[in-house]
Amino acid sequence: MPDNWGYVFAAYGLAVIALGAYWRRLARRAKSLAGPGGSE
């Protein structure tokens, strides 16, 4: 069977984008709720 690297990189690439986006979303929500000067 051919290696189909394109499928492998598509799967991992989408996972990195989705997990990274959720990571950022959580950070933004925490920051906005903590208020000015707030940290995690």
């Binding site: 051919p2 290696d3 989408l14 996972a15 709720l33």
Partner: protein, 215 residues
């Protein structure tokens, strides 16, 4: 503590990625496309863990009426939906070159899609109810009923004729997987679990802040 968990998860993910592409051998039958397994299987196992915690949090809330249990449930549900989505997408991408199709109404795929939709519904329901105790009560009922789908997803490949292969881990027989492949899978499973625990801690803290702002 949470920040340290985040860094630990990031490190574990890098190690897992290195193992998936640098240590695990090229699979003899499928070739390199099998490397999607190191993403697909840890994602679904993490989703099982997340929804088991939604179940525990839901039961805990209904028995005690303490909002801390509800925070656990919602903090687990969001990443659970994310990891289930990753399972479906990575499985679909893996399915195209190996099965010749992106999607088929196979028992495993269909039950996983139902699992995904049930917990998307769980999150939508939470968004529709403003009063915290009523929201927690309604969500807890869905969280408990939704968990019934976890064993259906897992055992679907045994109970029905399916295109999806039977479980090679968490199955009744000893796993036939070669040691380097099993080790790579284990490393990625640990990495995904750490990442989930990080998401859980962050999301629970956000839920606590939201409650203190609302109250």
């Amino acid at each position: 503590m949470t920040r340290a968990l985040g860094w630990l998860a990031a490190l574990a993910l890098v190690i897992g990625l290195g193992a998936a592409f640098g240590y695990a051998p090229r699979e003899a039958v499928q070739g390199n496309v099998q490397r999607i397994m190191y993403l697909h299987v840890p994602a679904v196992l993490t989703a099982y863990l997340a929804f088991a915690l939604v179940f525990a949090g839901s039961l805990g809330y209904l028995f005690t009426r303490r909002l801390g249990w509800d925070r656990l449930a919602v903090a687990a549900a969001e990443p659970g939906v994310l990891f289930t989505g990753l399972t479906i997408v990575s499985g679909s991408i893996w399915g195209k070159p190996t099965w010749g199709t992106w999607w088929t109404w196979d028992a495993r795929l269909t039950s996983t899609a139902v699992l995904f939709l049930v917990y998307v519904g769980y999150l939508l329901l939470r968004g529709m109810v403003d009063e915290p105790d009523r929201r927690a009560r309604y969500a807890a009922v869905v969280g408990i009923l939704g968990a019934a789908n976890i064993p259906i997803v897992h055992f679907s490949v045994k109970w029905w004729r399916a295109l999806h292969q039977p479980s090679t881990i968490l199955g009744p027989e000893p796993s036939p997987i070669a040691a380097p492949i099993a080790l790579t899978l284990l490393v990625n499973w640990i990495a995904f679990t750490l990442l989930f625990l990080y998401f859980l801690a962050r999301r629970a803290e956000i839920a606590r802040l939201e409650e203190s702002h609302a109250g």
